[in-house]
Structure formats: structure tokens, C-alpha cells
Amino acid sequence: MVGTTVVGSYPRIGDRPAEQSLRRAIARFDKGEIDAAQLRTAEREVVKAVLREQNEAGIDVVTDGQISWYDSQSHLARKLASIEIGGLVRYFDTNTYYRQPIVRGPVAWKEPILGDEWKFAQANSKAPVKAVLTGPLTLASLADDKHYHSKKALALDLATALGEEVSSLVRGGAAQIQLDEPILTRHPEDLAIAIEGLERIRTRKGSARLALFMYFGDVASIYEDLLESPADAIGLDLVQGAATRDAIAKYGSEKPLVLGLIDARNTKKEIPGEVAKEVLELRDRVDLKTTDLSPSNGLEFLPRERAREKLGILSAAARQVGVAA
């Protein structure tokens, strides 16, 4: 019945000593005790473990957990032309930080960014792996723009660059692409820029499925417009963005939705039957056969063990929807 997926990030270390290998490897790399290749090996061991945990939980479409990403902004930005990486800035209301991209000139794609990571992940996963990219509007909004002095101009050049990356990923075999635009929960008035950027990326995606995900809040005020956007599926945070639920109940959707109903910001465990009930309440408004269930955002804000448990809850809730529907 409903499918299951995740949003992107996953905790890279756990509390057991064996789960802290990457933390130790990074510390040794920083001291010059191991080289970049050895660090890469340590990262990939964690990617394999993260894929195993998602596979074991029965998640239908998985990610590599963004294990090698320093953060959601600088990982992509550092490989684009004319961008430098600056100091630490608070990332939304998460009590985590990102290194701020500083835009010094016209941005452009130079080389594949995520291709190797995606290929490695897919080779180590039974389930299809989606490639996740931070969207151009969010990247533009969180960067320090010293060149364009225009959010729109920067976002559209970023969209062109990310379109190139998407094209490269699709040629490498990726069939599912997700763009994250959390900034729309804070600045819904920028929707037009997001859509123009998305349109540029859509033209480069070939036959891949392109999803647009918004988290860290609601998008109720722009919900109807999002349904008209050039994305094949829309992902919604329905926990911190609970207000979007009313919009779904009111307007429904013919476009496939990803319902982020499992709280990825809080350790409190959901009861699968209750989550299933919330999904079933929408059965007359959306086609459950094309609907996916997911956490509200990336799982990296939770301790590893609880993230794992949340995957189990997600799967169980989806099964209960299947039984009841």
C-alpha cells in the first residue's frame, strides 16, 4: 500500500564504541595520522552500515545517510566554481551549524559531486537509493552572496549548476532525485524563485523521478502552488509543519506526496497504529498507492539508536496502513 522512504541524513555515529569508528577516523585524519583514502574507507564502512539498517527496517527507497557531507550547504557548494567556504552559522532552529558558502563570482558546475557516493551506495543496497541535493533557493538563501546581490540571480545560476549535477547523476544510473527546499517553510514568498529553479533542473533529469521536499515547518500557504510545480512528487514535514495537514485535507493532491509523519526531531516514539490512522484519514484526498510515508526530515538530529527505532516505526505504520486499507 503506502511506500516508505527517508529524507536524507542519518546519524553517523552511535553510542557503542564500534559505532564511533568514523569519529575516531576523523580525529586521526585531523592529526595527520591517516590519509584521505583511509578516511574515505572509514566513511564508506558507515555508509554500508546505514544502508544495512535501512534495508533491515524494510525501507523502500533509501539514501546514503549523507555520511560524507560536512553539512547540507557546504558539501555541494564547495565543488562549484566561485564559491569559498566560510565560518559556522546556525542551521535553522536545529542547534547545529553549517559552514557558510561565500559567493565570490558567477557560480557554475565544474565536476561531478555526488556521483561516486551514489554509485557506492547503490552497489551496497538492496533497495533503490535516491540522490538528495539541497535546492538552489535554500543554497542561495543561506549563502553569503558577495557577487550577485540578488537572491534570485544566485538561485537561478545555482539551479543551472545543480541541473548539470542531476544530469550527471542520472547518466550514472540514479533514477530518483530529491531536492530539499527547507527555506520555503520560512520564506514562502520565494516560491516563484524555487519553481523557476526547479524548472531548470527538471529539463536535465531525463526519465528520473524528481521529488521536492520541504521541512522544518509548514508550507500551508503555498500548498496549492506546490502541487502545480514541475516536481513529480512533493515531500512534506507534517510534524513541525503540522499546519500543512489541514491543507492536504482541504485540497487533496493528485501529485504523489511523501508524508513526513514520523518526528525526526524528537526522541518520543510514535505508535505505528496512530500514524497509520493519520494516513488513512487522508485516503479520500490522496491516492495511497502513490503515497510514501517518511520521517519529517533527515534523521541525524536523533541519537543513532533512536533513529534506527524510528525506521522500524515507519515501516510498521506503513504495514498497518496496508492491512487497514
Binding site: 546519524p11 553517523r12 555515529i13 552511535g14 553510542d15 569519529r23 576523523i26 580525529a27 585531523d30 560536512y70 553539512d71 565560518g87 559556522l88 552559522v89 546556525r90 535553522f92 532552529d93 542547534n95 547545529t96 551549524y97 553549517y98 524528537n266 526522541t267 518520543k268 541525524e300 538530529f301 536523533l302 541519537p303 543513532r304 539508536e305 533512536r306
Partner: protein
């Protein structure tokens, strides 16, 4: 009249012997008493250092704390401590989890305040992690409402503030680094900090950092405290122009050294920053401090920054013929 009093925001780096001891203690290789003795030693050293360089309002340096929210939560019933979550880079921390009704087991930071105050005649600040930050940085498995959880913290932190006052604290600082995370919740923050500071005779301070001050500017005068403490060197000094147009009706502690940079700001640069502040704020309402807690610097860097800060302040006082008076 006192003018340009110097102080610190709260934390200082832990010396190597204490870092090693904390690692040992976490593995069960050092007793609680053994660790406590070393925490006392380094606290005493930091008090002595502040005395020696002539800081007017010292702090205890928070040598006994890991994370500022987790330390308070460990001393509050109704909480557990989570597994590791990532802050950034290779830094991880443990967060409080609210699992039941919050109740203060007893005084949380009062013993350390007493310990520090007994070692100096100058007024040591009492330091409280604020209710909004406690709520925002905790997982909540019990209340299910950010407002209810926040006000529950506020109620018990008010008791903590009272106890600090009874122990002799003339100044109580409420730390709210999470202040600027959700602008729509600023009214809740004002309400919760008001619960903490209500009826206190002590001077009250609210410290925050790394925020988008433009969005919260309108709230500065509404904060129920006598003084606000802001990082000014890292945020650039743009904010000053706004204060010129829209005056602050409170005291201000003005951060003049960047706590996230290894660079030791020269005395001349700090003097310039203080001079700029003096074009807007009255010297008796202007306090000089670092942007934030210095705990991420090395002991040597922190001491060098504080030395230059005190020397620069002294030079400015002299050039303006200002006196220190009684703090």
C-alpha cells in the same frame, strides 16, 4: 560612578589536566571526588587569573560543566540524557530528554557560585542556562508543548535564581543562546525569562549570541532583565547604528573579542571597538566582555584575549578620565 566594567560571559577553557581527568572519569577510572578536586583546582586558578589581570566582575569559568543545557538537566528530576547527537564537524553532544514532570532536585549551580565567591571580593556572577534554551535544546517526551515545557523550566530556574541570590549573588545571568532560533516564539522567551527574574533584587543579565539581531531588535527593550549581553565583534558592528537610532533602555555588555578565532585581537583594535560603543552608550551602562564563553579556545588564547581586553578598557578609561568606582 563606575564606568566600563569588565567581565566575562561564562565559560573558560579547561586545562589539560582537567580534560584528561574528565576522560578518565567517564571511563570509570577516576572517582567523582577525584574529578571534583581538579574542577575546584582549575576554578580557583581561573578566579586567581581574573583577579590578577583586574577583571571587575569575575565568573566561575564553568569548569564543572560539559554542555550547558545537559549540566542543568542532570540536576533536574524528570529528565534523562540522550545518546550522542552531532553539533557540527566532528563534535557531538548529549541532549536532555524530558521524560516526566520537571522538578529541581536541589540547588544546581549554587555550590560552585559559593566556591568561586569565597575566593574573591569582587562580585561573581550567578549563571543560569535559560528556560527557553533548556526547552529548545531538549527532546520532549512528556509535555508535548514547547510553551508548557519552557514554563516548567522557568519555574524551577526561578528557584535556582532565588537560591543564588540567597547565597550572595549580586548579579544573576540568564543564558539564552537559543533566543533567535524561532522569531515567532520571542513572546514565549520574554514570558519565561520574566518568570525566572521576577522579584529578584540581584542585577539580571540576559546573554545571547550568534543570532540575527535585526529580527529580534524590537525585543531588546522588552526583555525582563537589567542588562543584555551581546556579541558585537563577530556580528560586525552594524548593530551599533541601529542602537543609535533606537536607543536601548538597559545596560549593555558589549562583546569585543571573537571567541571562535585563534587570532588574538591587539589592544588597539579592542580600543577602537570600545570607542565606537562609547559614541552610543553611557560609560556607566556599558560593560566590556568577550563575545561569548571562551571554552573553545586554548587556555593561553583565552588568557591573552582577556589580558588585551582589560588593558584596552583601562586605556580607554584613562583617555576619557573615567573611574572604575564600585562595581
Amino acid at each position: 560612578m563606575s564606568a566600563l566594567l569588565t567581565t566575562s560571559v561564562g565559560s573558560f577553557p579547561k586545562p589539560d589536566y582537567l580534560l584528561r581527568a574528565r576522560t578518565k572519569a567517564s571511563k570509570g577510572e577516576l572517582s567523582e571526588e577525584g574529578l571534583r578536586a581538579l574542577e575546584e583546582k582549575s576554578t580557583a586558578e581561573w578566579i586567581q587569573f581574573q583577579e590578577q589581570i583586574g577583571i571587575d566582575i569575575p565568573v566561575d569559568g564553568e569548569q564543572y560543566r560539559g554542555d550547558m543545557a545537559t549540566y542543568f538537566a542532570e540536576n533536574i528530576d524528570g529528565t534523562e540524557i540522550s545518546g550522542l547527537v552531532r553539533s557540527y564537524g566532528n563534535r557531538y553532544y548529549k541532549k536532555p530528554i524530558i521524560v516526566d514532570e520537571l522538578r529541581r532536585k536541589g540547588p544546581i549551580s549554587v555550590d560552585w557560585f559559593r566556591f568561586a565567591q569565597a575566593r574573591t571580593r569582587k562580585p561573581v556572577k550567578g549563571m543560569i542556562t535559560g528556560p527557553y534554551t533548556m526547552m529548545d535544546w531538549s527532546f520532549d517526551e512528556f509535555y508535548g508543548s514547547r510553551e508548557t515545557a519552557c514554563l516548567a523550566f522557568a519555574k524551577l530556574l526561578h528557584q535556582e535564581a532565588r537560591d543564588l541570590e540567597s547565597a550572595g549573588a549580586k548579579i544573576v545571568q540568564v543564558d539564552e543562546p537559543a533566543l533567535s532560533t524561532r522569531f515567532d516564539e520571542l513572546p514565549l522567551l520574554v514570558k519565561a525569562v520574566g518568570v525566572v527574574t521576577k522579584g529578584l533584587r540581584a542585577k539580571t543579565i540576559l546573554h545571547t549570541c550568534y543570532g540575527n539581531y535585526n529580527e529580534i531588535f524590537a525585543y531588546f527593550n522588552k526583555l525582563p532583565v537589567d542588562q543584555i549581553d551581546l556579541e558585537m565583534s563577530n556580528s560586525g558592528l552594524d548593530l551599533l547604528e541601529r542602537f543609535r537610532r533606537e536607543p536601548l533602555r538597559k545596560e549593555i555588555a558589549f562583546g569585543v573579542v571573537d571567541v571562535h578565532s585563534h587570532v588574538i585581537e591587539p589592544e588597539s583594535l579592542i580600543r577602537e571597538r570600545i570607542e565606537k560603543a562609547l559614541t552610543i552608550f553611557d560609560p556607566d551602562k556599558l560593560y566590556i566582555d568577550p563575545d561569548c564563553g571562551l571554552k573553545t579556545r586554548s587556555v593561553e588564547e583565552a588568557q591573552a584575549k582577556l589580558r588585551n581586553m582589560v588593558a584596552a578598557t583601562r586605556a580607554v578609561r584613562e583617555s576619557h578620565h573615567l573611574t572604575v568606582g564600585k562595581g
